[in-house]
Assembly symmetry: C2
Homo-oligomer: 444 residues x 2
């Protein structure tokens, strides 16, 4: 079984000449990703990652994860961007809404922003609990996670002493260079490698994502198997008709050309909220350059039908919707009968809640179509590690193809440096003195 792409309601004339050209461009882009002859081709390690990870590497991740899980009530992950969102997305998608898996530590994040109160409340809450830390950074000098790790390292060393602290800290970083690698070697931390040819937003299937996911108790083998199956299904030999990654790229580019500037990734399960956040980075950072790119936004339905629903139905006609539709829930819960029926819900009693949810989804699709909002639908049998693996690779591959079709380099992020440079200058970092002078006059 695989996830399916339903583009019947995408309001795109797939038989048009324009779409033929888009299909050719998509297939050529897909070939470039495999032949590594396009823009940013030094960052294509993710393309064959699922099929090429070794048993030894998986085993190493799993055994480190077991050790951390056994010795910790809480594991704090210090990371930002791709070193945060991939793991967070999978943990939320596969986890219980209210508690960790049986016998597994609670997973928390830090170093994904600079809020002073959050850091204070985090450290206050750690007291009295068995704490470990996974720090994830290629360089070790990215401000947010480096700052959080500096604090967490001191906290853990104070609680456990330097020697035992070293057993509670795992670093995911560069294979040989950088501040974090140096620290890890000096302190004797267990380390995992972020491959040179995999950018942050494409790194969830490296130890960056796999280690936290394994610590939380989820099956990284199934996740990888799902991704590997999608890798195969979208391979260089796959025909367009069978390659849903290429199809998704074609449709969204066709819609963009029609003036649809916003793509709304919609879910009907709150567990997918952070998958949408991960997706926003993936597509926003890959395509948003040279004054181009679809703006990626997201909605959690049916919640947001009572919020952004009005805008979607009748606001500016500049958006289309991509819905992630999960067929079967994990548990069964039937709408109970109520003899009084004051709330008038007895007509749905004895149905499953998920059937009500599904009719909300289909009813919404039709309503939004009637309102002029094209619909793309990604159909998933169930929210399991295996299908999540498929979905992750599906989006990554579609993003690479889509970026090439847009004629940008989907694997760089030159605009992310601008705020950092300004921040360093304003903070008086040595070497930024001239810049500091200029900026200070602008903020007065």
């Amino acid at each position: 079984m695989t996830i399916k792409l339903n583009i019947k309601n995408a309001s795109v004339n797939l038989a048009s000449e324009e779409c033929d050209a888009l299909k050719k461009a998509a297939m050529s882009a897909n070939a470039s990703l495999h032949e590594k002859n396009g823009l940013g081709n030094q960052f294509l390690g993710w393309v064959n990652l699922p099929s090429s990870i070794s048993e030894a590497d998986i085993f190493e991740i799993e055994s480190t994860a077991e050790t951390l899980a056994e010795t910790s009530d809480l594991v704090v992950i210090a990371g930002i961007g791709g070193s945060y969102l991939g793991a967070k997305a999978v943990l939320e998608a596969l986890g219980d809404a209210f508690q960790p898996e049986q016998g597994r530590p609670k997973m928390l994040f830090a170093g994904h922003h600079l809020d002073e109160d959050y850091m204070y409340e985090l450290i206050r809450m750690l007291h009295g609990k068995r704490v470990s830390c996974i720090v994830i950074s290629k360089s070790g000098t990215t401000t947010e996670p480096a700052l959080a790790f500096r604090i967490l390292k001191q906290y853990i060393e104070k609680q456990y002493g330097k020697e035992d602290a070293a057993k509670r800290i795992v670093a995911v970083t560069d294979k040989e260079k950088g501040a974090l690698k140096q620290t890890a070697d000096k302190e004797g931390y267990k380390t995992f490698v972020i491959p040179d040819d995999v950018g942050g937003r494409f790194s969830v299937l490296t130890p960056v994502g796999l280690l936290p996911i394994a610590v939380a108790g989820f099956d990284i083998r199934l996740l990888l198997k799902g991704a590997a199956d999608m890798e195969l299904a979208s391979g260089i030999d796959a025909a367009y008709e069978n390659n849903i990654c290429a199809q998704y790229a074609v449709v969204r580019n066709a819609l963009y050309k029609q003036g649809k500037h916003i793509e709304l990734l919609a879910n009907y399960s709150p567990k997918l909220h952070f998958l949408a956040e991960w997706w926003k980075q993936l597509f926003g950072e890959s395509e948003g350059k040279q004054n181009k790119g679809i703006f990626p936004a997201s909605v959690d339905f049916t919640s947001d039908l009572h919020s952004l629903g009005q805008y979607i139905q009748q606001g500016e006609r500049i958006l289309f919707e991509t819905v992630i539709s999960i067929k079967n829930p994990q548990y069964e819960f039937i709408v109970p009968e109520d003899p009084e029926n004051l709330d008038q819900l007895n007509f749905m009693a004895t149905k499953r809640i998920s059937e009500v949810n599904r009719m909300a989804e289909l009813g919404t699709m039709l309503a939004h179509l009637d309102g002029g909002v094209p619909n793309i639908r990604i159909e998933i049998p169930e929210l399991s590690a295996y299908f999540l693996g498929q979905l992750i690779y599906f989006f990554q591959k579609a993003c690479g193809i889509s970026g090439y079709m847009l004629e940008v380099n989907p694997f760089d992020q030159p605009g992310v440096e601008d705020y950092k440079r300004n921040m360093f200058a304003l903070l008086g970092k040595p070497g930024y003195e001239a810049e500091n002078q200029k900026l200070m006059t602008r903020i007065e």
Copy 2:
């Protein structure tokens, strides 16, 4: 002290003839809100709410809140849209990131979507805890909260017996009609009234928001005081120069006319995440109609500088940013020194984390300005109940003004019904048989 609006970097020529016209329109709109002579004028109860709530009403909310807090480990709030987002926004903004206030119950939500697994996991988690429920619905027949309440009511009655259950359930609903009011009267629940002249998205300062906020242990008097002060500051006699609600409405409408279709509400404190969700409903549902309206989106910085930051810096130039900037954190946390300084952060050691955060904010503003993203800044002394009250009223008033300037009725939401009608038809609700036939053929 009041919150401040900084529009110096909004890239709008405020001295232009066009802006003069907008200012006049804003002042006229503000007058209409007070004189109740504009579109949707039957829903203007929110305008004078902060200054007109009685001591008796506040006391009643507070004493019910105390009782619930004393008798509960967990309070589940069943509500959706405006009956969910306002309370959620305030609870997150004022609460600790990891735990309830001392001696206060944990606050959870249900009935804000239709996820079957969520309901299963919620009920499973309730076992063994002292549970109460606040159900919030004008009609009592909105599917999501009605369904959740049907389940929660049965659960609580089973645990405590019908008589004691009635003491653990509080209904916030219509003053005399509707399914929930009927149920509450029959079962003997304590009830609070949702005023007829206050729509859902403007209801956070009614018992809809105030009761959950008081249960969680926050000061609703200060919240109301802040709102009342902003009500006065933006009153019918306030000059444009002193009315920041009107100014915000003018600037965002000027930007919309320039082709800025997306407003990004940005925060630098994760506690404001749900305030942005509340704001999205407020503006999206008020303005998104007649094929018009700015699309409201949000970002949590610095997290999302490593996600949507690239798009904001260099993508399509169709967006502007409104930043909520909080001056002082609640706690103090200094960046620690590290003699080794491998992470190169010693240049910021001995500074407060919030100073680093502030320089990130200012550096980002300048970077985004240089990239062509206009900036509006709402400056708040601290994230307290008082200033949050100001902020809530500020946005509500600005939204009413802005909607009138756009020449829409900011107080209706005709598009929200479309999906509901389809959902009922697809679920086979009696009375929808003809519609069912038509829709079934479309989803096959």
